[in-house]
């Protein structure tokens, strides 16, 4: 539809002032590449934050909650006045008695990706006269790692060694420091029921989360059963991960037929939901700001290009070129600039993102800067850069199309 003549003029404009064309392409390129880099970087930061959040917390947790409902024990008769005094909730049972059966049922649910059970109890960790109170967690060694990817956080020893013996333990790096303990040292653990046992440290973790690093000890589930003297199917918590943690509340509601409390991470930690929402808002705000700044830059350049050619537009109109021809000529230029800027911008954005993702940056679970590479970011950046360039070319072109050739030619 674009006539060859118009194409020829458009390319003559592009090639006659290469510097200006290159500057126009560069402005698209920087907008696109900055968008890609910033989104990748913020995505990476968000991802590592999320990973830290879920390093000790599952997406959905099933546990035995204290029932605070006062049961209607007496009557439904409306003529009878019922009066309770000093109503107290009574916990009839502790923990989950038939955990294995529940897990087997849950495994049939295709929405759940990982399921593991834990026996969590409070206790005191001691070395000589120094003691630290904290959590003892009896875990399924394989599934616990599958769920929380604990091996990422290992700073000494080997997580899998935990499975070798009921007297092995894994502790956090802060606790090790406080108790002056190293790998293969012995640590004494006392439960709230006053049972004390010595364990050998086979692995030390650094997760960045103080609830683990300073106050948690992992032992084998069978070792925890020994401490609590419970049946083999007992657990205090069943932890569930799903593919998309944002859907935890929905999925938790779909889990039925369980007499225990099923709670999504959103329900248990509203502050994390707020923090997550805020981080996402910041990410959107920053990428919007980049897009707007880039859009104005591109518009400016395109406007300048058209202004510089205003005399030639007047000549073309005098020679019989119509407004549509002028729009075609400048839109063609905008499309070329948008395409080149977009392609090189995506390449540069990928380059910057790759380079930054290799910059050393010490944090738990990673040695380098966080970065995500999402195809959708790249497509959005390219599409946006292209679209803005065309819009930025269209408005000045429209203005140029309405130029009165007489006023330009007469001066």
């Amino acid at each position: 539809m674009v006539s060859n003549t118009n194409l020829k003029i458009a390319f003559a404009h592009l090639t006659s002032r290469p510097k200006q064309t290159i500057i126009a392409i560069l402005s698209v390129l920087f907008g696109v590449s900055m968008y890609i880099f910033m989104n990748g970087f913020m995505g990476g930061v968000n991802k590592s934050q999320t990973e830290m959040t879920f390093s000790s917390m599952a997406h959905i947790r099933i546990y035995n909650d204290v029932d605070t409902k006062v049961p209607n024990l007496i009557t439904d008769d409306k003529n009878t006045v019922v009066n309770f005094r000093n109503a107290k909730a009574i916990q009839y049972s502790e923990g989950i008695k038939n955990a294995n059966q529940i897990i087997n049922n849950l495994k049939k649910n295709k929405q759940l990706s990982t399921i593991t059970s834990q026996i969590n109890l409070s206790g005191t960790f001691r070395n000589g006269s120094v003691e630290v109170s904290g959590q003892i967690s009896g875990v399924d060694v394989v599934n616990e790692n599958k769920m929380f990817r604990i091996k990422r956080y290992v700073v000494a020893g080997n997580w899998d060694d935990l499975a070798n013996s009921n007297s092995n333990i894994v502790i956090g790096v802060e606790m090790a420091k406080k108790l002056s303990l190293k790998l293969n040292d012995l640590i004494s653990v006392t439960t709230t029921d006053d049972i004390t046992k010595n364990y050998k440290i086979v692995c030390i973790l650094e997760t960045g989360s103080p609830s683990i690093d300073a106050s948690k000890g992992y032992i084998k589930k069978s070792a925890a059963l020994q401490l609590t003297s419970k049946n083999r199917s007992y657990a205090t918590d069943i932890q569930i991960n799903i593919p998309d943690f944002n859907k935890a509340t929905e999925v938790s509601k779909s889990i039925k037929g369980i007499n225990y409390k099923v709670e999504s991470w959103q329900q248990s930690s509203a502050q994390l939901v707020a923090a997550n929402a805020l981080r996402n808002l910041i990410a959107i705000a920053v990428s919007l700001a980049i897009l707007i700044v880039a859009a104005f830059g591109i518009y400016n350049i395109m406007n300048m290009t058209v202004s510089e050619k205003i005399k030639e537009i007047a000549i073309l109109k005098a020679l019989g070129f119509g407004g549509n021809d002028v729009i075609q000529i400048f839109l063609t230029q905008a499309i070329v600039i948008g395409l080149l800027g977009g392609i090189f911008g995506v390449a540069l954005g990928y380059g910057i993102a790759t380079a930054v993702s290799n910059v050393p940056f010490k944090m738990p679970g990673s040695e380098t800067m966080p970065m995500v590479f999402k195809l959708s970011d790249y497509l959005t950046a390219f599409g946006f850069g292209f679209l803005i360039t065309i819009l930025a070319g269209y408005f000045p072109a429209k203005k140029a199309a309405n130029v009165d050739p007489v006023s330009i030619i007469r001066g």
Binding site: T5, A12, S16, K317, G320, G322, D404, V406
Partner: protein, 229 residues
Amino acid sequence: MENLALSVKNISKYFHEPKTFQVLKDISFDVKKGEFLSLIGKSGSGKSTLLYVLSTMDTDFAGELIVNGVDLKGKSQNELAKFRNEHIGFVFQFHYLLPEFTSLDNVMLPALKLGKKSKKEIKEKALHNLYLLGIKDQAYKLTNKLSGGQQQRVAIARALINDPAIIMCDEPTGNLDTNNTQIVFDIFKKICHENGQTIITVTHDEDFAANCDRVIELQDGYLLKEALV
């Protein structure tokens, strides 16, 4: 009517900036086909304004304008652009060529836009025009590498490419020396008398005007006198 190239009736035009001022006052005249016409007058007499009204580029006027038998009042800008492309050629005081293109490309442009002939035919005709104007050797040079006289001749070759009925010129020799002025004048004369094309030119050059077929003088927006030479 048949052999009229252009006919204007009661044309008036106002400028509104800086204040309303009538620049053309009730102008009427006819131009025959093959006529070589000069518009003369002092600065501010309205002669250039009249030319741009005739050229169809300036549409802000009252009155009737018929070019080549077509009434142009009330046509859209795009229709007028198409009409100009086919029926009117332009030569400006400052040659106004496209600097990114060679002489040949500049000459070919209006014909490519018109699209009535193949590219090969257009190229042949463009080269022929350049040959007639004595600048065939400059065909493949960028126009900003040419001298003023050469550029003006390229502009004339461009104005002629679509065989327009009328060629309109705004001070075509204003920037040229005597020698080049003579060359341009001879070309114009030849175009009128051999091809039967009409030329309307605004000029300051009294010698140039004196040698035309017909001179129209404007003063303060009025048609002052018509002199047949």
